[in-house]
Symmetry: C2
């Protein structure tokens, strides 16, 4: 299945059963040792490393080959002498006696030394950085993680649905990235901070169980481990109560951890109320690990709906403005907003919040009361959210959901501190791409077309 017109096998494929075969391999020159007149060459690809024996003629001809050159090598598979068998390599029982070497692309000396490269250098030459075994593994594990999530959710009747990236500006929290419209000069799309409204509208549309591996955007002043764009496992379910969310997500996590790490995690996860967590751990994302190398999940529940901000003297939604209050607290919205509890929950893993969600309001009258409690005038919330209030009129089912920071989960699973290690082409803290040099200046004509001027 890996055979192409360039190769018969990959560099991770040959073993004892291939002895005597003629093979063609292609890959990168990993190392070359000339020992007297003969030579040993290691060829590398994503699948592994294969050792080649070079006869005196080939050793002489290619003695100056640069590392990381791309080669195609023909040869015959031999058993390695017992003493030279390398049990740590999948191909360690054989070596290939090279008969012909074709240089497909010669490499210049690499512009960086990975062991001592700064992150800046690594990001500038990201395409080389990604050749490192750790980086290869990080992206492979991420692929497996996402595949496991998709397989599980598809089996549980979830439908994956793509929602727009060219979206509408939302009023709360972090800043939106804006996209000027050429056709409607002076107007803007916004890149979504999450597909929140779309997924709720999909519940109104009767899709019942939705998910998406969704790209989300926030133009924040970057803290240590934030990215201007990040990936969310976004889910929404109809006819769900809090307990249904807990039970489904525990099954999902159990499946994923088994599939990707072959680790059995214990479910159900323990739970803490927000009040308990703050009292006992002084934080809402406690680290409950008792020993190293453990995966300690905990649900944090019972969050307040609103949070007062002294600076601008108003309430903010602790999760987001679509979170449902607990029914019996509803009348406190106008009299004692601090006391209103929310049907909101976070999933915390080893002291990191990996996901959060809530049961939503599916009634327009409740939604309007919350908008008002957030200090929005009727004119304001209707301008922003008329479509949501309208949608709630025509048979919106009870629904709830959750979203997980996929980059964070991938980082934890691969044992990395930074999400930049599990993103193929990340931005710096300054929201720049050092590799391709973006953001960058654009032509005056482009701005003219958009009806914009730089101040």
């Amino acid at each position: 299945m890996n055979k192409t017109h360039y190769r018969t096998h990959t560099c991770g494929e040959l073993n004892k059963s291939c002895i005597g075969k003629s093979v063609i391999l292609a890959g990168w020159l990993d190392s070359l040792r000339i020992q007297g007149k003969i030579g040993f060459l290691s060829l590398r690809d994503r699948y592994g490393v294969t050792q080649f024996f070079l006869n005196p003629k080939l050793a002489k001809k290619f003695e100056n080959l640069k590392k990381e050159s791309v080669l195609q090598i023909k040869g015959k598979v031999n058993a390695r002498p017992d003493k030279q068998v390398n049990k740590d390599m999948s191909t360690g029982e054989v070596e290939v006696e090279a008969s012909e070497i074709v240089v497909l692309n010669e490499s210049e000396p690499l512009p960086l030394d990975f062991e001592h490269a700064s992150e800046e250098t690594r990001l500038t030459y990201r395409y080389l950085d990604l050749r490192q075994p750790d980086m290869q593994n990080n992206l492979m594990v991420r692929h497996k993680l996402v595949k496991a999530v998709r397989d599980f959710l598809s089996d549980y009747n979830f439908v994956e649905i793509e929602t727009p990236i060219l979206s509408k500006s939302t009023p709360e929290g972090a800043r939106d990235y804006l996209v000027p419209s050429r056709v409607h000069k002076g107007k803007f799309y916004a890149l979504p901070q999450s597909p929140q409204q779309y997924k709720q509208l999909l519940m109104v549309a009767g899709f019942d169980r939705y998910f998406q591996i969704a790209r989300c955007f926030r133009d924040e002043d970057l803290r240590a481990d934030r990215q201007p764009e990040f990936t969310q496992l976004d889910m929404e379910m109809s006819f769900f109560q809090e307990e249904d969310v807990y039970s489904l997500i525990e099954k999902l996590m159990k499946f994923v951890w088994k599939k990707v790490l072959n680790v059995d995690i214990k479910v159900p996860f323990p739970r803490l109320t927000y009040a308990e967590a703050m009292k006992k751990y002084k934080r809402d994302n406690p680290d409950l690990r008792k020993k190293k190398d453990e995966y300690a999940f905990v649900w944090v529940t019972g969050f307040p709906l609103l949070e007062f901000n002294d600076e601008d003297n108003r309430y903010y939604a602790l999760h987001h403005p679509f979170t449902s209050p607990v029914a019996e607290d509803l009348d406190l919205l106008e009299t004692n907003p601090d006391k209103v509890r929310a049907h909101a929950y976070d999933l915390v893993l080893n002291g990191t919040e990996i996901g959060g969600g809530s049961i939503r309001m599916h009634r327009g009258d409740w939604q309007q009361r919350v908008f008002k409690a957030l200090g929005m005038s009727e004119t304001e919330y209707k301008a922003k959210f008329m479509h949501m209030l309208e949608a709630f009129k025509y048979g919106a089912p009870p629904h709830g959901g959750i979203a997980f920071g996929l980059d964070r989960i991938a980082a934890i699973i691969t044992g990395n501190e930074s999400i930049r290690e599990v993103i193929a082409f990340p931005k710096t803290k300054n929201a720049e791409s050092l590799m391709e040099n973006s953001p960058s200046e654009v032509d005056k004509e482009q701005l003219d077309e958009l009806g914009l001027r730089i101040k």
Copy 2:
């Protein structure tokens, strides 16, 4: 697995084996017939429709229930009398004798009549439009299509890798959407027209086989069936020649058509050179169907590399500037550019180009000659593509790829003319969202932060 705290079964689940059981269902009121004192009620969800029998008390109490209200109904499963068995319904052998009806959310009368609604109205109330069985089916089939693609490619050692949406402006062809940077005032990101450069860099990074279900963006004046954002099945493979692409893609299509439509398509697909297609069919996307309901695939190959544009008196890349010329035509680049053939190919299905790709240049010197043939100065192409030329220095493998219009494939598979029918929340021809009203005006403060002024 569909059981939640709101329901024991879905509306598509009950059959003879459930007779005698007490059940709770939740869904939308599809129809209500009062016959004398009793009533028959149909409850609908994504999974199907279940008929309920209402005794005189319930019939009286709920006789004015509005269609599309969300209900939870408890009852007991009975066999239908033989005469009333409905073979067309998965639940047609049973009915549920209702004992209690809870109105979870009462609907107002729907603001549209689907049979006569204009597309404008349908898009304004997209969350209701999506309740229609055809639309539900379209998005379900799209989910299955994408799942089949992912399963196949994962089995073939492809790695799914996400590439940035906040990207760099590219010079060729259609217009980029720009995203102003707040941190770097006066500079812009661009939304990608395709992940072309990133996927080639992933080949340089040694990932060998990459794919992505990638969102792409083009700010074109919209023709009939274009969308400002669309979805591409994007693939790139190392150590591939043209024949390797054909063979892999034929296997992929065969798998997908079997899985999604249970249709056996014949491979290998026929091939036509561009010249043959133009001569015989006067088009490069001929419709080779001999009978209706057939799927007629054809590869179109042997495209010229460049195309002269009389208006601005210069050459353009027929595919894109990274397409590899046929080696023996290379020296025609400077003398007779029209004659240079490309390693480019399109896959055409029933007269629609569903995908196109090429073997790429992996050598910087060739790439620079093509940039020059496209009329770019060295300063210009280095400003735009330095990272690509740099990457080609350090062991870029021979590679090639292809990209498919996933929206188009989904439309063909579901028998729709328009891709808007297979996109959950599409934009109009005018690039507007009528549902949420975007693009929209933004606050002056937001523009100030971006250092922009509207002219």
